[in-house]
Symmetry: C2
Subunit: 231 residues, 2 copies
DNA sequence: CTGTGTGAATTTTTTCACAGCT
DNA sequence: AGCTGTGAAAAAATTCACACAG
């Protein structure tokens, strides 16, 4: 029966876990177009990942493939969904209801994936009490009560960089265990708490390095898309 | 499979380049508070990075420290700025002027870092001709001319996932060499083109894995910034 | 003394390659 | 046959530890 159990994630490299959503997305696309079975080879081509890596990654969690055949797409979708903890919906709170926070709340990508932004908090009197989409902006001092009451574990932080560390410290004190940080800062968190900082500027800055270093564009003509893309 | 040949900047690992903006941000903060000199030890504590890693990373680019003293903060800021290609401003175009694209244009973090969104493009007749902040939304068919004329190398893509690959293929054909992709997709690009996909949902999905796996939150008290320095 | 820069050692991650299941 | 799952090998990244410069 259940091949997949919640094993101690201590053993599983972070780098592996970070690839799973990637696989899941591709598998869902395959499923939606009716593909029943996929080999690590085929999946790897779709994702620009080596087949060996896919097999090795999956092997951390169990045996999902059928030798000689490949992986059942619908089954693997379910397995990865379960492994990632995506069978349930996750309530999320947002701290910082400024321009960026508002864009996050209205971003349509979270809800279909089960991430429901339930409440927003801010310190600015001007926005407290207003509504973004259909959620009300509350004063930050109510965070603790809210988190405890609703058992929230995930927070999205969209406050100015200087405030991020203080806000995050407060969230952790209140029981938050996973934080998506949109502030350009390097927050320190205790063990057991996960942070992911999303920083488009840093991403751009690594790209300018490459743009600057390469003197000659060299091959420039047609960029073979290598995909069976329709036009 | 294709190892990247050609005259890429030396043989500097990507993972090293990706840390440089991180260092730079911390160094600028130190500079702005008047710190003249910093050791790899101190910088490492500020960033939760080992001192050895900082020294090793920097050593790919030269010798910036003074033995017995540490690094001159202002000098290292300048050196990293130059290494990353941030002495100049970078014009950027945006493809996709929907809700997300509009948020990107109005995000105040790009301009101070020298990334200037110069133009936005969309296929939707309804938004073409409108203005976001002070830039006009143009029809995508004008991208090629614009990019060539202005010598743009960086694009931000904020279109629906299904369209991302096609849009990116087009951009590359037109000469774009660095792409920040906000679409939840896995674009394939030819050698010599860099893509960074920013995908908050994937980030959340790796966090739910950890939230699900750990049965017991284990009591973590105050978020002591204690550098979890092992040993 | 202090703290860099760097070969060497260690650890982590990726890839190989093949036994074995279907 | 075809393709997984996995030890073993290889490669990459990190950390150690120390000679040496200031």
């Amino acid at each position: 029966m259940g091949a997949v159990r919640g094993q101690s994630p201590a053993e599983i490299p972070d780098v592996v876990v970070e690839r799973l959503p990637h696989y899941l997305r591709a598998l869902r696309a395959l499923r939606d177009e009716g593909t029943e079975v996929v080999s690590s080879q085929e999946l790897g081509e779709a994702l620009s990942v080596t087949p060996a890596q896919i097999r090795k990654d999956l092997s951390y969690f169990g045996r999902f493939g059928k030798q000689g055949r490949g992986y059942s797409v619908p089954h693997l979708v379910l397995d990865l969904t379960r492994i990632l903890g995506l069978e349930r919906a996750w309530p999320v709170i947002l701290i910082g209801a400024g321009r960026l926070g508002q864009a996050i709340v209205t971003y349509p990508g979270f809800t279909p994936e089960g991430f429901h932004i339930q409440a927003a908090f801010d310190t600015d009197e001007a926005v407290i009490g207003t509504h973004i989409a259909d959620i009300e902006v509350r004063p930050v001092r109510e965070v603790q009560k809210y988190v405890r009451q609703k058992g929230i574990e995930i927070a999205i932080v969209a406050v100015p960089g200087e405030q991020a560390q203080a806000v995050i410290d407060g969230l952790i004190r209140v029981g938050i265990r996973a934080i998506m940080n949109y502030a350009p800062s390097n927050p320190r968190v205790p063990n057991g708490v996960r942070v992911r900082t999303i920083d488009p500027v840093q991403a751009l800055q690594t790209m300018t390095f490459h743009l600057t270093g390469q003197q000659h564009p060299e091959q420039q003509a047609a960029p073979k898309p290598a995909s069976a893309g329709p036009r």
